[in-house]
Amino acid sequence: MDRSPENRPVLVAVANPEHAEQLVRTASDLARLLESYVTIVSVAVKPSSSPFSVYTDETIIERFAQDTRDLLDAAIAVAPEDVPIEREIVVGRTMADGVLKAIRRTDARALVIGWHDSRSRTDAILGTNLDNLIENAPCDLYVERIGYEANGVDSILVPVAGGPHVRPATHAAKAIAARNDATVHLLSIVEPDIDEGAARDHLEAGVQLLEDSPGSGASPDFSPDVRVETAVRTGDDVSATIAELAPDHDVLVFGVTRQGAIQRRLVGSIPQRVIPRIDETVILARSGDVVSPSRLDKLRGLWRRG
């Protein structure tokens, strides 16, 4: 496997063999664009209430993680062949704990993770593990909704409104467009009677990001020419307007938005309102630039090391 050491992997976390193919495909698209490789990671979850949590990580992986190994084998079996694939088993107290450990260990550039939108009974927005990762994963993060997979992708919709998460969103859009020869539609929505200038600026910035993103002529082997279209729409209700336009596209890539009440801080109010109303593939993108390691994380490191 030839890769320069400074290359950082695209991590994809798998927990269910049925969902592996969809997630590994997206991770491979990203890795192709970033000229990197994919590391499939699976977590052997050992909560501290488990008597087995006192074993060393090596012992756990060797003796008490057969399921996890089987899962990785299944995931690798469905991976595309043109992207280098590595595998990693980590031991964690929770899923999120293990994935965070894997990010640190591999110095991952991005993480792709699935989200199953069952009607959950908890307060958590996407589930405690995903919420934790959105808050703490120190790399670009892509959350892909499981099960709603487009049959061939012609058109990708990226709603933009500025902010740090547009960059990872354009990466994902470009990566998927490149494999499918699809068009990326950047969309900005303004309320009526408000100057469209800001919206135009957002779109321009989005186009710039798409052009600047990796894979643009940097490597002679892979320089996708992705078609980009932009549109400004007027509408009172941003969520409703996006939901209305969604059926014309195959994939929606959202940057998470940070405004709104505390409860919506993680994902953003707009994606939260749009997602339940549409059947398209949805990817939430969150930039790694917004995460700085917290003091609690450093404390947690005590437990994780070794």
Partner: protein
Amino acid sequence: MLALTLAFWTFVGLATIACLFMAWSLGANSNSPPFAPAIGANAVSTLRAAFLIGILAAAGAVTQGGSISETVGAELIRGTAITPLAATTGLLVAATFMSFGVYSGYPVPAAFATTGAMVGVGLSLGGDPAFGTYRRIVMFWLLVPPSSGGIAFLTAKLLRRDDIPETVGVPVLAAVVAGILANIRLGVIPHPDRSQGSIAELVSHALGSPTVLGVDPSVVGTTVVFAALSFQFIRRKVVASVERGIRSFLLVLGAIVAFSSGGSQVGLATGPLEALYGTELGLPSVVLLVIGASGILAGAWMGAPRLLQATSREYAQLGVRRSIAALVPGFVIAQTAIALGIPISFNNIIISGVIGGGLAAGSAGVSRRKIGVTVLFWVLTLVTSIGIGFGLYRLLSTLLGTS
């Protein structure tokens, strides 16, 4: 007066909810180990196991929970009774620690949290520390890891020895377990001096036998009969088919351990309310135990399947013999703690048992750092729960003007 009554009933309500929550989380989190090995060995399905765990743990809670509940409620502090506000505060602190443990994934043993919180609020109430009780409790806690690990080690050695065939080793273990079973104290069995009696003592009373050299021959006789019967029962099964016999033993053992865990854990939820329910409301202690037992039952039914699924495969990889080795001390130590009325963390016993059984197989593969962190969190839980219990009670009693 009306306001006072209202306040009183509010505290009764709050305290009961806190007790139910505590019992629920005990049922959901610390009652699953008993059947995980049996599921791992395909002796029972996950859902049936969770169902049985709930019933057995609740039964254990009602019949055996009284002694530890009494210690937590009345013997941690001298010179003052726990008031409704103090009971509510203590439970609130303990329940918060439990939630923190579940949320953060750090090991927070309920026994330490409840004991610490009750000592804290008791001291804050102006009570005197009961040093004698603390000494007994701390001594027991310090002895748990070596004895649990030791029993597991010996059990695993016995089952691994080539010169002792399974047709002897497993029935011997069954005999030991049954012998102890004849002597465990149950709330449903009357005893002239205590609230709980054992089957052996019941037989002894019925026969009215005298003691010889301080030993009651009919207690010994009952114990031997119990041991002999189960030796015979398990031996017949093991002789017919070693694997099936071991599996049945694992199932029976799991049932007994689930029962014991209920008896040893419910007091951590109900203990703080002993004074409130017993003295203030004048209710018999079984009412409180039934409340605690229903919390444990609900917790086990709702939480155990997930946890069982997570750990049963590990026990399967551990193997039946080492699984048995990890369970035997769970039963022995939980029953000793019940007999002595000492609050214990069931998980600590099982962890030590798994390590001990592992050592018998040669390499332990245990991480010293992880054990260190685990022990550190145990100590932290104890110390901080005392401090928070003390401080929170002071704060609340000042705010509410009931000091």
